[in-house]
Subunit: 181 residues, 2 copies
DNA sequence: GTCTATACTGAGATAGAC
DNA sequence: GTCTATCTCAGTATAGAC
């Protein structure tokens, strides 16, 4: 049912836009009542981000699984690299999804919140490895910046793997931070 | 009127919490009707972030005003340092504000969106100086991470200035990014 | 599954400033 | 008279309580 509601929501969001779609319509297209919609999703926005919890869990699991003795950034970069297969699979799904999200302020706001939650989760995963709190937060935020940069570059140029783009992002970061303070 | 509505909203948010405060109550306390509230604020959340546009403008103005020939990170750090007086003034106002925001999911979500908007504004300000798009984005995101780190450290330890904490944040970043990729 | 509170929108009327 | 701010009224949709 979750999947049917999601499919119905995406179809309607794409057809008429998020704002012009009511939760009643989504439910009707899925063949259930409006109330059922809210049993599966806490609010109308959340439908657009289903699966983000699993994605986040993959990250934090990879961080927890990294060998001991690595620095925080090394741990994050390893985790990022481990996500490449999953990212490649989801690419075809994500691009139209992003188009709708980008065109809808309410969904962009939720996406910002999701990104913040992801950063918080990375921070916590690093702290669980013994990294001091503020350093963990700085690492997680910087890591997210690298991740963003690499993913964007990879979307532009898929001829090389995400790993290569991550290396380049790290290079760029080193140059940036080496500049005079 | 804007100020009266804001004051009323903050008083009620602090008294009974954001969720248990209705827009009608805010308006009533300010001596106007509910409809008037929505003439000044697009939604109930936005009252809590009044002035953020001006804050953002200060940042981007400082970036635009920086001398030519500096690298993106140098430009950002200069802008950050220029914000210290304003930050010191607002500290007494911001701390209780943050308490309410932190306790309210809806306001935290809006705050994430504001942070994302700030990052986007920094990115654009760097691009206006001729910095390439993805490098500008990476710089802005990394800069925000430094800013966060420094501000948090400064709240914990105000015995030294924000500038000192910024220097330390840059040091930490260098160590992080110097680690093996 | 039903009912209700409340956030938000739109159109038009009123009143005061200039 | 024009402009702008506020109010009045009527309504829809989300979300939560029961």
């Amino acid at each position: 049912m979750r999947g049917r509601l999601q499919a119905a929501a995406w179809a309607l969001y794409a057809e008429r836009g998020y704002d012009r779609t009511t939760t009643a319509e989504i439910a009707a297209r899925a063949g259930v009542t409006e109330r059922t919609f809210f049993r599966y999703f806490p609010d109308k926005r959340e439908v657009a981000f289903d699966g983000s919890a699993e994605f986040m869990a993959s990250f934090t699991d990879a961080i927890a699984a990294a060998p001991a003795g690595l620095g925080p950034m090394e741990v994050l970069l390893r985790a990022f690299r481990s996500m490449e297969p999953m990212l490649a699979d989801n690419r075809a799904v994500n691009e139209p999804r992003q188009a709708v999200i980008g065109a809808t302020p309410a969904l962009r706001e939720r996406q910002s919140a999701k990104a913040a939650a992801m950063t918080a989760a990375l921070t916590q995963a690093l702290r669980d490895r013994g990294v001091e709190a503020k350093l963990a937060a700085l690492s997680a935020q910087t890591g997210m910046a690298l991740w963003d940069h690499a993913v964007r570059a990879w979307y532009e140029d898929p001829s090389v793997g995400l790993g290569v783009h991550l290396d380049r992002a790290v290079q760029a970061l080193r140059q940036l931070s080496a500049g005079d303070a």
